[in-house]
Symmetry: C2
Subunit: 696 residues, 2 copies
């Protein structure tokens, strides 16, 4: 609901529709995001390991997804979930106030009754997967454009509704596309919405080194969070979990990571990658750096304003560095030429076979045409559908109410995905979150973003003529923020419950603004889905089928924020002729520290120095193939012990959106040895250590 979610949504929106197909090049050691239905058995046998069905099921059930865009795992039989600190920032900000700053200080609930309920957080456990490819194909075959969109939406809604039944608050069912529509699966998740904070370090500790060290290595971050899921007011029983190892992994050891990589474009066509290279990524980076400047200036106003903007600034900075790395990768002419050659080779193979050619030969051209349509409408889509023109939490709230009232008048099969029955429990949890709202912050952001809307779309754009008929963007924004009553959760709830007529009658200026935006949103989102998403989906599915016909299924699908297993070994890499060691140590951590944030050690860490073994590993790197969304993924050994916690990739791993380079691409994890050692010696959380190591 807040800007972070909106940002992730916008990004997901951007990339989810850029899906394409599989690379012709052979997989490298460590490469791949393998779904539970298709593990890389042959590759693992090289390491003398064959996963049993029991092992696979256990790993799947012990792994969880965090609805905000992260991964995690159960680490005790009583519902303890281990993830990253940066995955629970929304919770920490929601629970913070001028007198309790959970970003600045560590938190540990020594007793269960001290555990704090996160305002809006959902943990999801994948409990069942069913192949529904035939059902979906029958519903959508030979459809295109708006008809394809409608058919795809209808069959998805039907399958999901049947699966979840009346208990949509307990189960979340999703039709998942793998191999870009080569396969469809129905995934059933157990939802946990009562999530309580047990332990977090301060952000200074979790993000030690700050922006300069982000995506860099050597690294010394304790990017850890521990929450507990509750059912009916009691800790959930979670018999499938990973006990935390006191040792951590050895150099060269085979390890697995089980998580939900977000979105990759490894199988995009060249036309799609070229559009990303210019103008999509450069435009997105301009949006983000603008926002970064705004947040820095807002933060400079006072300490409390800095606290308000801290979470957004973290995510914006992280995105800038990440997308900069992706843009750099796309401008690597050598790698890009290899992709071009792959595509040319695949197309030549298809063109050489008259049957394949007539079935699939024009799919690339159809996608290239859809990319042109995308670029032609990208400005209004980004501004209005991606809501870059309306950056403010109060606007997000108003627009959710207005769009929700509209969508809920439609049958489930005709709604946008994010307003279908399956999505409403989490959406309502967020909409009615008691987390505070900051009008001054919203005013600055909404003024700036609506000014940008006007600047880029121009005086004659119909939406600008309407919104700015008698007042400037800044005035409209200021009045809406100052006049709205939506900071009050009760007001939101009554509007949401009362539905369309009440929303239409509301004179709340933010609701009025959202209402004025709605028709433009609906028009552009439908146009985009029908003329961009739909032809791209349909034609990437055709390419997928061509690939299956040629190469079979011994390949992995692009990431889609669903459960995947990756494998790899603990290993450094050679950078500019210099070997980077796989482990960092406690000694290195203390050497890297200075007297100020973000390289200052907290008092707890300074006090514990003599208790910690200088040789204890802090972070390590592996060849696992992970991307954004894998944050919080457990690193486990072949016996199912948790030996680390993924939290980042190195700089070369940012090209992982498009390709995997086994020589350079490294995942970065917190070592389980420091997780336990710090809980014991820095945070004096002995009961927690005991719970984490039980059964190990």
């Amino acid at each position: 609901m807040n800007k972070l979610t909106a940002f992730l949504t916008a990004t997901a929106f951007l990339t989810a529709s850029l899906l394409a197909l599989l690379p012709a090049s052979a997989t490298f050691a460590g490469e791949g995001f393998w779904p539970p239905s298709n593990l890389p058995v042959a590759q693992l046998q090289h390491f003398g390991f064959t996963p049993s069905q029991q092992w696979t099921d256990h790993v799947q059930l012990a792994s969880v997804r965090l609805a905000g865009g992260c991964s995690g795992s159960f680490v005790s039989a009583d519902g303890l979930v281990l993830s990253n600190h940066h995955c629970v920032v929304d919770c920490l900000e929601g629970l913070s106030s001028p007198t309790r700053n959970l970003m600045a200080h560590f938190f540990y609930a020594a007793k269960r009754q001290e555990e704090l309920k996160c305002p809006a957080m959902e943990v999801e456990q994948l409990v069942q997967t069913t192949n529904v490819t035939d059902t979906v194909d029958r519903a959508t075959d030979n459809q295109s454009g708006a008809a394809y969109t409608a058919a795809r939406r209808a069959v998805g809604s039907r399958l999901e509704t049947q699966c979840a039944g009346a208990q949509s608050a307990q189960w979340r069912c999703e039709v998942v596309s793998l191999y870009h529509g080569g396969q469809y699966w129905l995934y059933k998740y157990r939802r946990y919405q009562d999530v309580r904070l047990v332990f977090v370090p301060s952000q200074a500790t979790s993000f030690f080194g700050g922006y300069p060290d982000n995506f860099n290595y050597p690294r010394y971050d304790y990017d850890v969070s521990i929450v507990r899921v509750y059912v009916d007011g009691k800790p959930a029983r979670t018999p499938d979990y990973f006990p935390v190892s006191a040792q951590g992994p050895a150099a060269g050891e085979l390890v697995f990571s089980s998580g939900n990589p977000g979105a990759t474009e490894r199988n995009d066509t060249i036309a799609q990658l070229e559009a990303l290279r210019y103008p999509i990524l450069p435009d997105e980076l301009q949006y983000l750096t603008h926002y970064e400047g705004l947040l820095q200036a807002f933060s400079a106003r006072s300490e409390s304003d800095a606290r308000i903007a801290q979470g957004d600034l973290f995510f914006v900075d992280n995105s800038i560095k990440g997308l900069d790395g992706e843009l750099q990768a796309l401008n690597d002419q050598q790698q890009f030429s290899r992709k071009q050659a792959d595509e040319a080779q695949l197309r030549a193979k298809i063109d050489a076979d008259p049957v394949l050619r007539s079935q699939y030969g024009d799919a690339w051209d159809r996608i290239a045409e859809a990319e042109k349509v995308r670029l032609a409408m990208s400005l209004p889509v980004q501004m209005i559908v991606g809501q870059e023109g309306f950056s403010a939490q109060l606007f997000d709230i108003a627009f959710t109410i207005v769009l929700g009232a509209h969508e809920r008048t439609l049958p489930d099969t005709q709604r946008f995905d994010d307003y279908r029955a399956a999505s409403l429990p989490l959406l309502e949890e967020q909409l009615f979150s008691p987390a505070p709202v900051y009008p001054d912050y919203d005013a600055v952001r909404l003024r700036s973003s609506m000014t940008t809307l006007g600047n880029l779309m121009g005086w004659d754009a119909p939406i600008c003529q309407q919104l700015f008929a008698t007042a400037s963007p800044e005035e409209v924004a200021e009045r809406a923020v100052r006049g709205t009553r939506l900071a009050d959760v009760g007001v939101r709830r009554s509007l949401w419950t009362a539905g369309e007529a009440a929303v239409a009658a509301s004179r709340d200026p933010m609701i009025v603004l959202a209402r004025e935006v709605l028709p433009y949103y609906l028009m552009y989102r439908r146009m985009y889905e029908d003329e961009v998403t739909s032809p791209i989906e349909a034609n990437t599915t055709r390419i997928a089928r061509a690939r299956f016909a040629l190469f079979g299924t011994s390949i992995y699908p692009d990431a889609t924020f669903t459960e995947r297993l990756s494998y790899g070994v603990v290993s450094g890499w050679l950078e500019a002729g210099k070997q980077v060691a796989p482990f960092t140590t406690v000694a290195g951590l203390y050497e890297h520290a200075r007297d100020y944030a973000p390289v200052a050690l907290s008092e707890a860490w300074l006090a514990a120095r003599s208790q910690l073994n200088p040789a204890t590993p802090v972070n390590f790197v592996t060849t696992n193939d992970i991307v954004g969304g894998n944050s919080g993924s457990p690193v486990i050994d072949r016996d199912g012990r948790l030996v680390g916690l993924m939290f980042d990739g190195n700089l070369p791993s940012l090209g992982g959106a498009f390709w995997y380079d086994g020589a350079l691409n490294r995942a970065v994890a917190v070592d389980s040895a420091i997780i336990l050692a710090a809980l014991e010696h820095v945070y004096h959380a002995d009961p927690l250590v005991k719970e984490l190591t039980a059964g190990g």
Copy 2:
């Protein structure tokens, strides 16, 4: 001295060293920036016009350059200078205060004693040009790297010092490179440093339509400023001037523009254009959009803060839209392929001739190598030499004092160009400007920019280890801004006058900071000049000579912010199948207006509506080939009457940095008819109208 200057300096720094050579393609009607020594006589004869020597000399002497990066012209015999409003923003901000806002309100000095002296402004009139190609060539032939830099600097210093003599406050002499070193000229300018404000409209009027309309057309801007130059306390006598025509030009009429186009890259090699396309322009745009976000958030704090940031925000927004257009042009695959073909054709011609090949054949590869070196050092160069890491007026002041103290210990022949004797009068004028300084504004900017320095360069960069040894970037910035006494002009003057020992002994924290930065600045600037600028200059000169050998000199040199004549006709263009009319009118202006800035009309314009003829032209477009730096250029007819005032180009003209497209590229001017009509009916400045039209 303030951030705007620093920004222009940084930009100039970026582009000045990207100079290359001439296109093989034929010139279009209107194409070219023609130096006084080489007018396009053949092209003009097509219009039945042959410029006499007298005509040429008169145009040159009536035209002026504004040291901040603009053009202008004398418009009376008593020193009146006409230019754009946006060319005198520094003056207006320097003269503004909480009780007098010259950006918000129009100003007119009905009497000479009411004319206001601009705090730091210089008007320059080109009075003499001498070809010194042989002298420079003899000094630099067969030199490379640091030796080339030193030889080039020494011969330049010697020629300039001889030319200006002891009167460097009165004369400015510059060795000018035309055709990328194919020719060198010594240009002698008369300097006017006593420049007084006579008339400006409000910025709302000069920049009517704001960001959305900038670079767009139709347009309705009254982007006019009038200043007067004084000598010895009296208006300068300026017998060469352009009387202002009450009529303006006719559609299809041949017109000239005389001004100082800033910098173009029409003759860059493909390697250079590729580096601009990525990463140079995208990086620069990220820097600018970050700054825009910061300025918008700062402006939202209060009305007076908005006034402080207004000028910077205008320039930043203007640069964003301009560079975005350049980046879009470079991503036009069709135009880019044409450039590639041009270069391939030229290289093939040279390779086909054994003599040319041995003399010039490897020049492109040498430039490509220098481009790689540039990219390898671009981060520290932008941060430290371009000073993007230190965005604050007080830092600029401190650094000018520290670097100036260092440079002035060297002989003139060894100094950086901007600290040679020829540059000091203007530099001192700016350094000792009584214009106010805003510590809160500087604190926000310096905190943010030093944070970016740390973020991008990393904890281990030597400059970060030194500057941030014991305090964070934000703390260092805050202490320097709060502790410095450099807001006091007297303190600046005494440090500047006392020289190196006094600067070394100063404990002013901003001076201390600048002193710590100095060695890194010197190292990177020298490295850049020796390893990037020098080989590129030397090899573009080689390409220039190859071109002369093949094609002769009937071509124009790239723009270098020196006096050039352009010609063209008043003409609209065909955009997406629709004809754009060449003129806009008073009627259109009133129709385009709304009730709020930046589309609100001032009270003066609202009151004058009935006095103005609705058919009077406001703006018009021509096929003249102009670029940034041409702002304020007079548009004159063949009889030397001023019929318009250049202030902008249309969106397609932004590709003019790289190529001229006669079908789409249009210059945008204020019509002389509205200049006079508004002075009479809106501003009631009858004496001024009389002075402007005398002799016409």
